[in-house]
Symmetry: C3
Subunit: 339 residues, 3 copies
């Protein structure tokens, strides 16, 4: 895959080499993201950060990644303030907005909308989430986190054992991560969910066709055993017909300190795409694990900045120019990141 000038719309665009190229560039971003150094490689460039659906976390993460490369960010956060409500087509929106920016990140509630937008755009477009469909930078940051966490445990993605837990039917992140893992070898998946919220059959069969082993279960405690990574998810209430229906499943699978100690291996990496639902009736990942060294959820979001910096650098073809404009940071930056 040639990143230069490309849209990033789907995890399906990636082969293993491309994924690893992103990760290698992301590794190089660490001194900049951790404010040990700064770079101005994109000084003068403009990101159009177009969020036609609310998302503070993802929006700020992309904006921050672009700023850290030295670029400026123009932003929209409200679908109602958009001309789309006056009958404007995505084609027109794309033609116009792509005249204002060097690269666009777009989130939109409608599946396929970002790809349609990209077809008309004159600049590269990154899919920041198109409803239940795709959110490729999230899948990349999840996999990047797994790679780094397992590396500390002297393990690798090939041959690992991962449990995915919760609403596997609606969870966009577990779908996309599974898709990326098709590029790797001999992985054992334990899919823990209520029967009604099982991973879609097509994904399971793709995993098996790729030579991976898949176990599906409703029994969390047995399913947790012998994994390198446990990936928890929230009940995606907004994808259910009613709150009542979501309530049936909420709080059914929970990980806390006691369960972790009893059923997981030591060093099992704990992941979650966030936000986690910490209300008493949900609480799929308990706060009593907040200080646990294997809790990787905030390293995950930190890695999101690295991966997004890498995507911008590759798309705009400056990955090998970062150092040219680099300098020391002179303001207070102590103890920010776990190194």
């Amino acid at each position: 895959m040639n990143f230069r000038g490309s849209h990033i719309l789907s995890v399906k665009q990636f082969d293993r080499d491309s994924v690893e190229q992103v990760f290698q560039v992301a590794d190089g971003m660490e001194p900049y993201a951790h404010r040990l150094r700064m770079t101005k490689v994109l000084d003068g460039a403009i990101l159009g950060n177009m969020f036609f659906e609310p998302s503070t976390r993802t929006r700020v993460s992309f904006g921050c990644a672009f700023n850290l490369l030295g670029g400026d960010v123009r932003e929209t956060t409200d679908v109602k303030s958009s001309s789309i409500t006056k009958g404007e087509s995505l084609y027109d929106t794309a033609r116009v907005i792509s005249g204002y920016s060097d690269v666009i990140v777009m989130r939109h509630p409608q599946p396929g909308s970002v790809a349609e937008f990209a077809k008309a755009s004159r600049v590269p477009v990154v899919n920041g989430g198109d409803g239940p469909n795709e959110h490729p930078s999230q899948a990349l940051l999840d996999l990047y986190t797994i790679k780094k966490e397992l590396h500390s445990n002297s393990r690798s993605i090939d041959g690992m054992r991962i449990a995915m837990v919760g609403d596997l039917k609606h969870g966009r992140t577990v779908h996309s991560l599974s898709q990326l893992l098709l590029l790797y070898k001999n992985i054992h998946f334990t899919l823990i969910s209520p029967t009604e919220l099982r991973m879609p059959e097509s994904i399971v069969s793709n995993l098996q066709a790729a030579g991976h082993e898949v176990t599906e279960t409703e029994e969390m405690e047995r399913g947790l055993q012998d994994n390198d990574t446990v990936y928890l998810t929230r009940i995606q209430e907004e994808r259910f017909d009613s709150k009542l229906e979501a309530d049936i499943y909420r709080g059914r699978f929970r990980l806390d300190q006691a369960i972790y100690t009893r059923h997981c291996q030591p060093n099992t990496v704990i992941m979650h795409p966030l936000p986690r639902d910490s209300r008493a009736d949900a609480n799929e990942l308990d706060n009593d694990l907040n200080q646990h060294p294997s809790l990787a959820i905030f390293r995950q979001t930190d890695n999101g900045v690295l991966v997004r910096m890498a995507l911008f650098a590759l798309i705009l073809d400056v990955a090998d120019k970062i150092e040219d404009t680099a300098s020391e940071v002179s303001w207070y930056t102590e103890s920010r990141f776990e190194e």
Copy 2:
């Protein structure tokens, strides 16, 4: 007109020399807007981009223009988050906000509000649209587009023939463009609209008093003939008493490939202030013209950035310093703009 430190509130401020000065500076902005070069001439300056009425397109265009000159943008997008709802006067808002920025762009739903704001502001104010009243940068970018498009056809604004089509009663853009065209000579206007949505009589008589020729008609096909430019507009539903009333007129005047070929001259420039309403019942400018070389609607929005850069450069008196801080662009910028 001396631009240095001036407010830009109305097209009525402009004489022909001032308009042409804006266009000349806008021409010089092209290498920067098209990312062939970058400039930092406004490095350290702050634009207060105050939108008390939604408008993604205009807001981002102004913000982008300021970023391309090297400046920063502080922004507001929601009238409800403003102190105005707590009984604050425009005078107070202006005194306060003008302490935060070097220049302000303001959009507000109430006619005259931006001029009232400007009176109290300590920095120059650009009217980004005050309800149905004025939107001077739109009129300037429309005229700038006409000038450039006609120039490619070896024509000029003086002596041209232009058709304006649609809701000429409510269309702020055709009113302002007509006002600017009072500064030019021997233009033939064909005003195509339902009788109930005719161009206001005062504008028609001003055009005639300036020596222009005006033909009014309800027959689109005949009206389209022999024009250099066709300027289409959307039915301004939000200005009608009810959606039902707007429905009477929606879809009545449409331009598509077949009509264009049959009735327009070759090379007739097609313009529209955007957004165009592409819903099936409206569709005043059909998508089957999207690839037509005479469709200028996206060159229009691109020109908006040039014109807004020019206004900022003139108001802040840096038009002759752009080159001093200019440098090459090193990121991917291929095939963005039609040169």
Copy 3:
């Protein structure tokens, strides 16, 4: 108090030396805030400007202060677009957002929320207002303004006479300002309010315990006499059970030119935290004083930028590096600020 890397959550953190350190650094910011010079000392740094409650003025003031130091701003303005509505804890929000920025300003409607957020944040947090609780930068800018205004009158904070007028029960700003004034000596407070909206008893007794003299009255005209400063406040309608209840008090205490001339000393400084309610039934500070040289309300908001620049510079430990990256400003900046 050591500012380096510290949270600024409450005025109670400050001793007199710390307050005066902020003021001294703020004095040094004037050439930068007034665009006589520019600095890039925070070039590359990112402010997370997190407003989970609307506030155009405070949000833009903080963002502008950070831009004036050369930094970038990432922003959120809407609580509904936040993961908090999906059950995310403040702990999680803080862990995540603090990975994106070098310093965070947070406003949130819930008292104590910002302190809770700060506990989990990996970067310094400035309280931008947590509901009726605290808004420390406002108190600092109020006191800074008093100091500068009295200095022009050859007076000082120690020994001054100040009248506070209006809704002293709900007014967060008069509470915080009173708290800061505990650090000073021999001040005479005249507290003018309806009995039902009196200053909380605990604050009055703290002032007395610190050796200040306090007079409480419902009679505005007598209360206004012999003061160095009059600090007016708006009836905080949003803190009442109903608009009707607020209406009882609205418009009861008003200052205008005639009252000022008759009852205040010449040069009595007029302050107001803004927004002032200029609707006819409220109008606590009349527009006929807008040109009065003792009206300090817009110097107050201008001072807000200086004080916020000082806080950022101290927290990020660059107060002594401002000059290192300073240069001249080359764009139009005439007659912006009263020097």
